[in-house]
C-alpha cells in the first residue's frame, strides 16, 4: 500500500524553525538566513541563531534587561509581559529558541526529526486507511447486529451531546470505530489511538494534513491523556480557504445586523451564526468533567466567565501578550473560522466569548503573586504549572504573525455592501414623483 512508498521516499531538506521543506540544502540555508537569522535591528543576515544573538548583543548592545518578564498567578499559570529578549523570528511556537544551533538540517533534535517523518507519513496516509489499522481489523468482522448496536449507542451519545463536532474531520466515524465506550471516555472515539508502532510524539492521523505544528504541542502526561484526548481543531492556519460552503450567498452583515449587536465590551463579540467558535467547548453538556480546552482561545464556559475581577480564573493565557493587540478597529477575521466547524450548532444560545482577548484584559481578573524577571523561557514553551494550566496552542501563537484581511467578505464585494444601504435603494417611480 501507500505505506511502503512513503518509507522509501526521500525526505526533502526542511527547516526546523518553520517546518517548511525545500528543494535542496542550499535553498534551505538561504531561507534560514533570510527568514530566521536576520537581525531585526539592521537586517544583517547571520548564519546561525547563536551568531544572531552575538551580533545583537555586540552590535546593538541589547542584552537581557531587567523589566518583568512574566507574572505568575495563584494557580501557577504564567503570563508573559514582554517578549523574551531572544527569539528566532518567523519560527513556529516552541521553535524559537536561540540556544539550539541549527544550520540547514544539522542540529535538529532527533525527536523532532522523528516527528517530522511521522507527520509526513500521516499526511501521506489518509485517515480512512489508517482507520483500519486503528480498529485492529476490518469492518466485516463485525456482525450486522453489532454494528446496529454501536450505531444506536452512537446516536444516543450524539443526542446527549448535540453540539459535538462531526466525526468526519477526525477520521473516525464512530459506528466503525469499534465498541464505543460509554459516556466518560466517549470522546476518545473521535480521536483514534495511535497506530501501533508509530512514535508516541505523533498522534495517529493528521486531521489537518500539512499542519505539523500540532505534533509539537506540549503533550499532557500520559495519565491525563486519556481524559483529554480531544483537542479542538486549531484555527485555520492560513486565511486562504474560502468560507465554508454552507454559508449561503447573502448579505449577512448588511441584512442582519441583529446577530452582531454592539457587544458589551470591545473585546467581546458574539459567535458568528452557523459556525461554532473554535474551542467553545462542546462538552459542557458531556460528562467529562476534567476536560478543559487546551487553547487559550477558549475561555472556560460557565457562569464564572465574565464575572467580576474578584473571581479567580481557572487559567490565564501565558502567551497572550505576544499577540498583536487586536483593537476593535481590526478585529479578528471571521475567515479564521475552521471550515470543519459544524453548521448545525446553535451559537445563539451560547454566551458571547472573547476568543482573542489580549493579555491586559485577562490580567485584572487575576491575582499576580510574583513577578518573574529571570529564567526567560526563551523557547516559548511556557512551563506548565498545574494540570489545568492552559496548554500553549501553536496555532494561536502562529496567528499572531498572521495576516489580517482588511476586507474579509469573500462572498460580497464592497460595492454591493454599499449599494445595499437604504440610501441607494432605487425606485424609479419615487424619483419621478420627487421631480
Amino acid at each position: 500500500m501507500g505505506k511502503k512508498k512513503t518509507k522509501t521516499k526521500v525526505i526533502r531538506p526542511w527547516c526546523w524553525y518553520c517546518e517548511r521543506d525545500f528543494e535542496d540544502d542550499k535553498v534551505l540555508v538561504a531561507h534560514q538566513k533570510a527568514k530566521h537569522f536576520k537581525c531585526s535591528h539592521c537586517g544583517k543576515k547571520l548564519t546561525t541563531a547563536g551568531g544572531m544573538v552575538v551580533h545583537v548583543a555586540q552590535v546593538h548592545k541589547e542584552t537581557v534587561n531587567n523589566t518583568p518578564l512574566f507574572i505568575v498567578f495563584a494557580d501557577n499559570s504564567m503570563q508573559l509581559l514582554r517578549d523574551p529578549w531572544c527569539r528566532v523570528p518567523n519560527a513556529l511556537p516552541g521553535r524559537e529558541s536561540c540556544e539550539i544551533e541549527i544550520f540547514g538540517m544539522e542540529g535538529i533534535p532527533e525527536e523532532d526529526q522523528i516527528a517530522h517523518q511521522a507527520a509526513l507519513d500521516a499526511k501521506d496516509n489518509p485517515p480512512s486507511k489508517r482507520q483500519k489499522f486503528d480498529t485492529g481489523g476490518n469492518l466485516t468482522e463485525l456482525t450486522p447486529e453489532q454494528i446496529q448496536a454501536q450505531l444506536a449507542q452512537h446516536q444516543a451519545l450524539a443526542q446527549a451531546t448535540p453540539q459535538s463536532f462531526p466525526p468526519a474531520p477526525y477520521g473516525a466515524p464512530a459506528p466503525a470505530g469499534g465498541p464505543v465506550p460509554p459516556a466518560g471516555a466517549a470522546y476518545s472515539g473521535y480521536f483514534p489511538p495511535p497506530r501501533p508502532g508509530a512514535p508516541s510524539a505523533a498522534p495517529a492521523p493528521a486531521p489537518f494534513p500539512g499542519q505539523y505544528s500540532q505534533f509539537y504541542q506540549p503533550r499532557p502526561p500520559a495519565g491525563t491523556a486519556a481524559t483529554q484526548p480531544y483537542r479542538p481543531p486549531p484555527g485555520q492556519p492560513y486565511q486562504q480557504p474560502p468560507f465554508p460552503p454552507q454559508q449561503p450567498y447573502g448579505y449577512r452583515s448588511g441584512m442582519q445586523p441583529a446577530p452582531y449587536p454592539a457587544p458589551g465590551g470591545p473585546q467581546q463579540w458574539a459567535p458568528r451564526p452557523g459556525v461554532s467558535p473554535p474551542g467553545q467547548s462542546p462538552y459542557s453538556t458531556g460528562s467529562v468533567a476534567p476536560f478543559r480546552p487546551p487553547s487559550s482561545q477558549a475561555p472556560p464556559t460557565g457562569p464564572a466567565y465574565g464575572a467580576p475581577p474578584t473571581s479567580q480564573p481557572p487559567y490565564s493565557s501565558p502567551q497572550a501578550p505576544q499577540q498583536p493587540p487586536y483593537g476593535p478597529a481590526q478585529g479578528y477575521p471571521y475567515s479564521q473560522a475552521s471550515p470543519t466547524a459544524p453548521a448545525s450548532s446553535t451559537p445563539t444560545s451560547q454566551p458571547p466569548f472573547a476568543p482573542y482577548s489580549s493579555g491586559p484584559y485577562l490580567a485584572p481578573s487575576s491575582t499576580p503573586l510574583l513577578i518573574g524577571t529571570a529564567a526567560a523561557p526563551t523557547n516559548g514553551a511556557v512551563p506548565q504549572g498545574t494540570e489545568t494550566t492552559a496548554q500553549i496552542s501553536p496555532t494561536e501563537k502562529k496567528k499572531a504573525v498572521e495576516t489580517l484581511l482588511i476586507y474579509d467578505d469573500n462572498e460580497v464585494s464592497p460595492e454591493e455592501k454599499r449599494a445595499a444601504l437604504d440610501k441607494y435603494r432605487y425606485n424609479r417611480d419615487s424619483v419621478k414623483q420627487q421631480v
Binding site: 486565511q239 486562504q240 480557504p241 474560502p242 449561503p248 450567498y249 447573502g250 448579505y251 449577512r252 452583515s253 448588511g254 445586523p257 452582531y260 454592539a262 463579540w269 458568528r272 498583536p324 476593535p328 478597529a329 481590526q330 478585529g331 479578528y332 477575521p333 471571521y334 504573525v401 498572521e402 495576516t403 489580517l404 484581511l405 482588511i406 476586507y407 474579509d408 467578505d409 469573500n410 462572498e411 460580497v412 464585494s413 464592497p414 460595492e415 454591493e416 455592501k417 454599499r418 449599494a419 445595499a420 444601504l421 441607494y424 435603494r425 432605487y426 424609479r428 424619483v431
Partner: protein, 328 residues
C-alpha cells in the same frame, strides 16, 4: 488633456486640464459606478450607474441612453466595459453588466452581458453570466469578465456570444479587478487579499502565469487590490489598493519598479493617459472597512473628513520602463 470622473454625487464630469474647467457630462439618479472613455475622432464617454441606466455620449452632444429599468427592475448596473469594433456592421458596442441585487433572498442571480450597437434600440447580443460581475476589461478582441465566486470568463469579441474560455481565478479570494494586457495576450487580476495574478489566455503561454503579494503592511494587515492599470506604451502596470499606496510593476522581469507612500486614503481607481506620461488616481473611501465584526455596514469608516480627490502623477520614465530581471 481631459479627465473624466464619476462618483456618488450621481454625476460624471469632464475636466479639461488645460483650462481647468469642469463640465458635467452625465447626470444620473444614483451613484455613477463606472466611467469609460473611448478615444477617437469623436470620443465616447460611457457611464453606468446604479440607477440602471447607461449613458453614452458621442462627440460633443449626442447622448445615447440604455435604460435597463424595464428588463432589470431589481437589478443594478455594476460595470460597463466598452469596445470599438472596426467595420461597418457595428461601429461601437458597449456592454453593460447587470446583476440581480435585491432579490438575493430568493437566491436568483441573474447576470448578463449585453452587447449594443449604438444605432439600434435593442442589444445585439445578450450573454448570461454565471455570477455577479465584479470587474471587466477589454482590449479588442479580448474581453475578460471577473465575477463573484472567482469565475473568470474570457470572450473573443469576434464571437462574443460564447465564452472563449472559462476558468477559476488563480487567486483564492474574491476578484476585485481584472485588467487586460495592452497586447491582449492575457490579463492581470487583483483580489481582496492583497494579491495580483498574471494570467495568459493561451495555453502555450501558461508558463508565464504567476501571482504575487502586494498591498500589505508589516503589521500583517492585508488590503484589497482595487485597481490595475497597464501602461499603454511599455506594458508595465500599476496596482493600487485600499491601503492607499500604489506601485508600478514589470510583469516580465517580475519586479517592482517603484513603490509610493500612502496617499491619504484608499485608492479605488487609477488610469494612465494615452502615452503613459500621467498616472491619475482617485483617493476616496472604497467601503473596504466592512469587517463583519464591526457590524458589517462599512459606513462607520465613511467619514466626512475622508479625502475625496483625484491626483495626477507625472510618471518618470525610469519608473514605468521595463527593467532587466535582477540577477539572483
Amino acid at each position: 488633456m481631459k479627465l473624466v470622473s464619476g462618483g456618488a454625487d450621481n454625476a460624471a464630469r469632464l475636466y479639461d486640464l488645460s483650462t481647468g474647467q469642469a463640465t458635467k457630462i452625465a447626470q444620473h439618479d444614483l451613484t455613477v459606478r463606472e466611467v469609460r472613455w473611448v478615444d477617437g475622432a469623436s470620443p465616447i464617454v460611457a457611464t453606468g450607474s446604479w440607477d440602471k441606466t447607461v449613458k453614452v455620449r458621442i462627440g460633443r452632444s449626442s447622448i445615447w441612453l440604455v435604460d435597463l429599468e424595464r428588463d432589470a427592475r431589481e437589478m443594478m448596473v455594476v460595470v460597463i466595459g466598452y469596445v470599438v469594433v472596426l467595420g461597418e456592421a457595428i461601429r461601437f458596442a458597449a456592454e453593460c453588466i447587470t446583476f440581480d441585487f435585491r432579490a438575493r433572498d430568493s437566491m436568483t442571480i441573474l447576470s448578463s452581458a449585453l452587447y449594443w450597437d449604438l444605432r439600434t434600440q435593442q442589444p445585439v447580443a445578450v450573454v448570461t453570466l454565471p455570477e455577479r460581475v465584479y470587474s471587466m476589461d477589454v482590449v479588442f478582441p479580448l474581453l475578460v469578465v471577473g465575477t463573484a465566486e472567482r469565475n473568470i470568463l474570457i470572450y473573443n469579441l469576434n464571437n462574443p456570444s460564447v465564452p472563449y474560455k472559462t476558468l477559476q481565478s488563480p487567486l483564492k479570494w474574491q476578484t476585485r479587478v481584472v485588467s487586460c494586457f495592452p497586447n491582449g495576450t492575457g490579463f492581470a487580476i487583483g483580489s481582496i487579499e492583497g494579491r495580483v495574478g498574471i494570467q495568459y489566455v493561451e495555453e502555450k503561454d501558461h508558463s508565464g502565469n504567476f501571482s504575487f503579494k502586494c498591498h500589505r503592511d508589516p503589521q500583517g494587515n492585508v488590503f484589497s487590490v482595487n485597481a490595475i492599470s497597464f501602461h499603454p506604451v511599455h506594458g508595465t502596470f500599476s496596482t493600487a489598493g485600499s491601503d492607499g499606496t500604489f506601485n508600478f510593476w514589470d510583469k516580465d522581469s517580475k519586479q517592482r519598479l517603484k513603490g509610493f507612500q500612502n496617499v491619504g486614503g484608499p485608492i479605488p481607481c487609477t488610469a494612465f493617459n494615452r502615452n503613459g506620461t500621467i498616472f491619475a488616481y482617485a483617493v476616496s473611501y472604497d467601503w473596504s472597512k466592512v469587517r463583519m465584526i464591526l457590524g458589517g455596514h462599512g459606513h462607520q469608516s465613511a467619514l466626512p473628513t475622508n479625502a475625496n480627490k483625484i491626483m495626477l502623477h507625472a510618471t518618470k520614465e525610469d519608473d514605468v520602463k521595463p527593467r532587466a530581471a535582477k540577477k539572483r
